[in-house]
Amino acid sequence: MRQITLSQAVNEALAEEMRRDETVFIIGEDVAEAGTPFKVLAGLVEEFGTSRVVDTPIAEPGFMGIAVGAAMTGTRPVVDLMFGDFIYLIMDQLCNQAAKTHYMSGGKLKVPLVLRTNLGATRRSAAQHSQSLHALVAHIPGLKVAMPSSAYEAKGLMKTAIRDDNPVVIFEDKLMYNDKAPVPEEEYLIPFGEANIKREGTDITLIGTSSMVQVCEKAAEILAGEGISAEVIDPRTIVPLDEATLLKSARKTSRVIVVDEGHQSYGVTGEIASRINEKAFYHLDAPVLRMGAMDVPVPFSPALEDITVPTPEGVAENARRLMSGEMIHAA
């Protein structure tokens, strides 16, 4: 199968959906000629013109609000938020307006928009350009949240998001834009709420989101060399969450580590871990472990930044400790 980058995959998904449905449009900063700073949207303005690839001033709450109103009245905006860190600026439009409109109108109004943004540290971009803030929006009922772990997921999830009648937030890992993965030429969609078992195993389950899926796969590789069989699962969307697949694996292996790049406290890892505790407790041989980003603002210095995110070695080390029956009180 051909290999394309995550960036190309997103670009293809958008182009295909824009060809299919003329109400789909893109709005955000430097999305047209510049094709975003990450060049993800390169070429789209040539095909679809500036009326459907709309450059805005640096006014995030403004264009987010416009997208909400446009979505309520018959279009399907794809909002481009250059960095996930800017989500704080649009919180009201996203969480008070977009997320609640369908509910508050008793099901009469809907907001079919996609918010495309990113996450991920270790790019030496310091505390305001490195955050992974998906837990913030996953906390708000009414919003769906997708976290592609490769080019394949990025394309399939984007197409599903655009066709979904709800507001959907997609977090791409900004360090993965140039990573290639096999992506079929033929059209495909990835349904929301369907986890993907990336690797089968019997001793321990490693649940990872976004680029942490790769971290878990590398950890599984290390563990395999030591005779420990790890199962790796990618939930692909955290809202909705495919609880059934996660629970089934937990019951099978009896040990689970959840790995995510958001801050560890009050985050995605805690949510998934507690669901497993609640529903698979009697099948577990060890506490479910959370591994998130360190609870500090992301530091600039490479010497500090690198130790704030989960690594394959760190996951493998925790897996060994769980396997050996050590009493773990996770840091």
Binding site: P57, G62, M294, P299, S301
Partner: protein, 331 residues
Amino acid sequence: MAKSKHNTEDYLQMYRQMVRIRTFEDNANQLYLSAKMPGLTHMYSGEEAVAVGICEALEITDKITSTHRGHGHCVAKGAEFKEMFCELLGKEEGYCRGKGGSMHIADQSNGNLGANAIVGGSMGIATGSAFTSKMLGTGDVTVCFFGDGATAQGLWYEVMNMAALWNLPVIYACENNGYSEYTKTEEIAAGSITARAEAFGIEAHQVDGQDVLAVNELTQKLVARARKGEGPFFMELMTYRYHGHHVGDINREYYRSKDEEKDWKDNRDPIIRFRGWMVEQGIATEEEIEAMNAEIKADAKAAVEYALEAKYPDVSEVDMHVYVGVEHALA
């Protein structure tokens, strides 16, 4: 050139500071190109007369807020090369112990409340600083630097309203360099920028940002009046950035022509213009100026060498400074 109101020492200091900024940036760019600097940075080269003209009208106790393009503001407000380069390289002796990097340099000792990686993010901070000044009667004036692109941020209109209502000693200084990222200002700013401040009853000026004397003269007047409670004020400084939006923005002809860049560099360079004027007025000879340039170059070289050898912060610093009064947040 605007009319003078200074003595020889002031002129030499302004020239010196402009050359220090240019030299700092040349070295920073070189560090990036030789892959010695983590991450990206935004060059201030070309805009020196703005930062220097303004900061030379301020006292050390006056405050400034800076931007992602902040090295110039930092130098102009009195910072040292050594601590700045250390910060850019993520070293322990940097102004922020390596935690902030280029986009977050702050220099408390000279009243620089910090660069900011959120466009417009400092507008509230600057206005709050002016609030303190009024409330405590310190007499300090705060200058809020931001770009033309930042005028699209709603926050500015909220704080201008309050600053005007309460006569706060703040000067909003918009560095209009014609672009925000890869977009021309006329494509993102409707109407006139000065008229926006005027709408709140704020006295607004437009000034040639390549003329350090013009900038300095205007700022001196506004600062004196702001100290007397006649603020706030607004200045739009017409200027130009020589490099790309950031150091990695090298192929930029799709949004900005080489001819245009050449014209600004050849005909409106703030340092060349001021140097010519100083020689003409007999303030300094070519030899004296060359000697000054050489000294600054040597200073910068020594600071870069020092910073390259300096040590990174110890990893134990990663959870320090999360909370005031808590030595290690995760201990």
